[in-house]
Structures are given as C-alpha cells and as structure tokens.
Point group: C2
Chain length 154, copies 2
DNA sequence: ATAATAAAAGATATAGATGTCTTTTATTAT
DNA sequence: ATAATAAAAGACATCTATATCTTTTATTAT
C-alpha cells in the first residue's frame, strides 16, 4: 500500500489557463499576417487535448480575447488590437483576478487595513506577477516563435 | 442555464497548503511555552473542517513538521527546532516543490537551457516566492498572534 | 487491568477541474 | 439551394482535490 501522492499539477496557473496562454501565443504567431488557424492545428501545436481546448477557445472568443469564424476557411485569429493586449487579460478571463488580489492564506477578512500574517509579503509577489503579465503582450513572442527559438509543445 | 463559473479558489497555494500553513502558525503560537493543542481547538482556531485538517496534520506529523502524542493530554505541538524552520518546508511537504521549480506554462521540456517563452519572467517570480518562504519562519508570527494583532480565522 | 482520551489509519463521499462526445449553427463554395 | 466545413453549444465522463465518517492504536489516569 503506497504513500505516493504524485502532485500532478499545482503550478501558478490552472491547466485551463496554461492551455489558454499557449493557444493565444500560437494563434497570434500563426495569424499575425492575416489568415485563420483551425482548432486541430492549434491543439497539435501546443500539445493540448483538442475538445478541451475547443471549450477554452469558445470562452476566450466570447470574452473577445480571440476572434473566430465558422465554416470553410474558418478558424481562430486575432486582430491587431488584440495582439497588443497584455497577458493579464487572458489570465483574468480564465482564472479570474484572485491571483492578483486574493489572500495567500485563503482568508476572507484579509485586506490592506486588516492584513493576514503574510499579507505584505504576498502583496509584493502578487504585484510582481501582475506587473509581469501586464507588461507582456500576446504578440511579444511572435518573432521567437517564427524563428523556432521557442516552442509551445510539451 | 447559467454562464457563471465562480472560480472558488485558484490562489498561489492549494487549500490543503493554506490550512497547513495556518495550522502550523496556530500550533506554534499555542505551544511555544510547552503544552499541546488538540485538533478540535486547532480546527476552530483556523476555521478549517476538523476531519480534513486531521488528515493534513497526520501528514505533517509523518514528515516531522509537527509533533504529536496520543491519549489524554495529548495533541499536537512543535519543538524548538521545528519552530525555527522556514515556511518553505511546510509548503514543500504539502504542495511539493513544483511552485519553486515547475514551468509556468506547464511545459515539460522547459529548462534553463531550453526555456519556454515565459521562463525567465517566471524564474524571477518563483525565486521571489521561494525567498519569501525561506526567510519566514514558522514562529515569526507568534508575537503578533499573542497580541491578537493578526488572526488565522476566516 | 480498565476506562477515557486523542491521534492514526482506512474507507467512503462530494465537488470542481479536466477531458470527451454528439448535435447544432454559421459560413463558404459549388 | 446543396453540400462541405469548422466553430458553438450542450451533454456526459473521469479524475483529483477536498471533505467526512468509522475503526484502530497509543497514551494517560484511575
């Protein structure tokens, strides 16, 4: 009888959010000079389960993070304005703003005027995460992706 | 038919880890001058479900983060050495070291020599989190807890 | 020794996140 | 108009984290 508990995930973001970020990077880089890219190609390009990604992209589409058209030659794309949006918009659309505003110890009462033990330490970190996501735009990695320097596949 | 998805948690730590941190703070502050504290009192003191917390403390006990004795006058406590251990030990015992070492985008290939798009940005944040948890000891908040300045209850 | 106490251990239950499948709707090309 | 394509939508399945309950073991006091 085992004592192994594996801990599969537990990163900063949810799996959904990881897929969301990788997919917007992928769509941005594939459709920067026009055109669309289908769900199959995106799913392959970022090593994600296709139907699950479809759900995520439906949501991002509803929230205006990505654009889409149905039918032949349809697919997902991003307009010029969307390309310039910060990653923070994607994260907030998927995981909410809890990562930027929530208490690190999960305490409801915790606030600036009534802080929990770790409030100030966490504020610093949360601000850093938020700042990083606000200063990184969706299109920031297009060049490196074009050059094949970085990858979005597992 | 609703489109609300609430997003109950999604903080930095798992709920389990939040309870773990709050409980070691509580045990430290209650048993700093000797004595033991029972699971009921701990659970009340940190607003956590008692049986769930019992599981967490069993695990922390096995891993040497807290000490315990059974029977009348039994309960949990922490010895002097344990009180000085960094919070990072608690987090690692519960959530593993993924938070300090894992890829922000969930990519397996990602490493220092073969980084993902956000690798360097994340390294910075991960280091900051790790540093904060390494420089905060379990007993750091005993005084403030004694004075009632801070609380561990929801 | 016995009874009372309190944690440990094991089994079970629930909820939310993750993943899959089928049907519907919109668009395009013929 | 019709057929083909591809996303949207809805229903369903699975898995993990979270939570609960019951039984067992260790300790203490009588």
């Amino acid at each position: 009888m085992h004592m192994i508990s594996l801990l599969l995930h537990m990163g900063i973001f949810s799996k959904t959010c990881e897929y969301a970020i990788r997919s917007v990077f992928f769509i941005a880089h594939k459709t920067a000079d026009g055109g669309r890219v289908g769900i199959k190609e995106i799913a392959k390009g970022i090593s994600s389960p296709e139907p699950f990604l479809a759900k995520i992209l439906q949501d991002l589409s509803r929230r205006g993070i990505v654009q889409s058209v149905k039918g032949p030659n349809g697919g997902f794309f991003m307009d010029k304005n969307t390309l310039k949006r910060p990653l923070a918009d994607v994260v907030e659309a998927v995981d909410g703003n809890n990562l930027f505003t929530g208490c690190g110890l999960g305490l409801e009462y915790c606030s600036e005027s009534n802080p929990c033990p770790l409030h100030h330490e966490f504020k610093d970190i949360r601000n850093k995460i938020h700042h990083m996501l606000l200063t990184t735009s969706i299109e920031d990695f297009n060049d490196d992706l074009n050059l094949g320097i970085i990858s979005l596949k597992k």
